[in-house]
Subunit: 203 residues, 4 copies
Amino acid sequence: MNTLLLTGFEPFLNFSINPTEEIVKELNNQEVGGFQIIGAVLPVDFSTAGNEFIKLFHTYNPSAVISLGLAGGRLKITPERIAINCNDGAADNKGNKYAGAKIDPEGPDGLFTTLPIQKIVNELNNHKFPAEISNSAGTYLCNNVMYQMLNELNKINKQIPSGFIHIPASHEMAVIDQKLPSWSQTDLTNAIKLAIEVIDLND
Amino acid sequence: MNTLLLTGFEPFLNFSINPTEEIVKELNNQEVGGFQIIGAVLPVDFSTAGNEFIKLFHTYNPSAVISLGLAGGRLKITPERIAINCNDGAADNKGNKYAGAKIDPEGPDGLFTTLPIQKIVNELNNHKFPAEISNSAGTYLCNNVMYQMLNELNKINKQIPSGFIHIPASHEMAVIDQKLPSWSQTDLTNAIKLAIEVIDLND
Amino acid sequence: MNTLLLTGFEPFLNFSINPTEEIVKELNNQEVGGFQIIGAVLPVDFSTAGNEFIKLFHTYNPSAVISLGLAGGRLKITPERIAINCNDGAADNKGNKYAGAKIDPEGPDGLFTTLPIQKIVNELNNHKFPAEISNSAGTYLCNNVMYQMLNELNKINKQIPSGFIHIPASHEMAVIDQKLPSWSQTDLTNAIKLAIEVIDLND
Amino acid sequence: MNTLLLTGFEPFLNFSINPTEEIVKELNNQEVGGFQIIGAVLPVDFSTAGNEFIKLFHTYNPSAVISLGLAGGRLKITPERIAINCNDGAADNKGNKYAGAKIDPEGPDGLFTTLPIQKIVNELNNHKFPAEISNSAGTYLCNNVMYQMLNELNKINKQIPSGFIHIPASHEMAVIDQKLPSWSQTDLTNAIKLAIEVIDLND
């Protein structure tokens, strides 16, 4: 069976949980949309996240790659259109902090996703899950791993669906942090399952 | 068995659905928290909503009253602290429009809810549903029916739990309107069931 | 000349400035709209703010009273419609913290402002300053002093314009706190001058 | 004297004004930061805006290029980090509408600005104007003209500062549209003057 590498992130900032970790752990080893899911949780660490991710890719040689990240404040499931060659933002869990540094000094400024993002959005909306394409994955770890995978696939000239999907906070997080829009963990997981089911390797 | 009058509203503005109507229809005739639920859908009409509501009250003589309303844009389940003696805002479904008119020319400026709002918020948060007390039910139909019921209970000197709970938009609405934070209908209904279960007539 | 008592608050939370303090200090002793302005800065302290405020009132016996407060997150100048008999929210600058306590155990639940709030909103909008009526002054110090003054005026049966206006954060604050909508201090001060000019003691 | 081509856009959607047009008209022919400003207003038209913009560039051969656009809903002055090779979003003023089409079928996915965006942000913050780098100029006309100019400069191998700055709505717009954060036109214009003054051709 075809495999799909599905990554989430460990908790960061003030939270003891990360809803992407929950999704990845729940779907790991399950069959979704004809794919055997290989779930993995990446560290919130600029110095290791990308390397671990690419190593996982070469270990499993999956037919598709989707990374998940939390976007606290977003209202919808948002597949990302582009990754950019830039590290910036708050310090990561190891204290690494960048201000506009290039991820790959030789890499292109931006790299479009190869996921069928409009199809994913349509499918989710058809199932009454609010979704829309996002034009920025930020400049933190989410963008970093998205860029590194797309850049690697370009370098090895491999054409498979690969990209990133940001999700809203979970209700559990919103109970702690007073201003976050949130969905139930069940909704978040079900929405990601729908997104995976849309991917057709014959497209 | 004790009864609880639970009201929602019909759809308004651009929407063909109202998640409060869904909740009320689903819970009607069910037993929740020791109450037999009497569900009713009120019109978005300043001239008739309050009268219909008070008539329902006198018909069923319930032991508690909770009205539900949609608060498009809110992130959480928000029990209301106070109703105010004021009609204002957009035109209702019949075209009635007010600019700061009193609901009851002889009534007090404000009337506190008699629901255990802090207990409701705590219970919801304990079950990982984001909730907080709201200090304004607005000046539209939601505030209007909340005020009219509390005012009526004062006039007839009846002391029962009565008040209003605003809920976020449903995912279904957010798919249509691009900027609304939303919860699944299932989450909305389950949260209201928890709120009802908190009500203890011996408090 | 008629006098107008204009109060602001001292800084609170993480900020070293409060734009209401700036306005009050700038307008103190000036003539605005036919009023001699008596500017005063109130402490963010539940135990003393109201007493100080009422003492100032009896000392100066002004013809009108306007209190100003910062509403971080609001987009517009928002005259408040009602004060409610409730202390709640975060701890004040002295560490006092309340959870739904009444301000005056014998007082009414709510008290409408006696300022011409719709006229103020219209005047500001006509001068291209975004403004709208707010239906909640919260349950913190702002609501507290608004309630205490309206309650006192009722008790002594004095009918003068009295109320509260919330203002957005200043640009200076937004530079420090990343998520605050803001106006320049100049705009904030000019908008409040317009609001004062609207007050007509013959209305 | 060195020249700087400064563009804004004509009004669009429901508004009869566009604050970028006001800025461009006010600064046209003025000297700012050692530059003679060449102000120009671009049409909200995918089929002509880029061509007009590039034509203006070749006509005046400026030493720097800054385009301005309105970002309704943003709180701050936001210099854009990257333009992407994508047209999407609502119909333009001529009815043209795209869904993910490439601007230049042969162009790179993304192109970084050549403006000193961090320096601009720092300068504005130092002068108490809220500002931050944005990682997405969207996929509408703003991104389109930013991409087209950076792409043209690459093609002709010309290295000058070029990029895009989004600004908040003006108070005048917020009076009409109820939910927009806004600044006064004076603040908007002064902030853009500061941004221009930062540009140093010797950097």
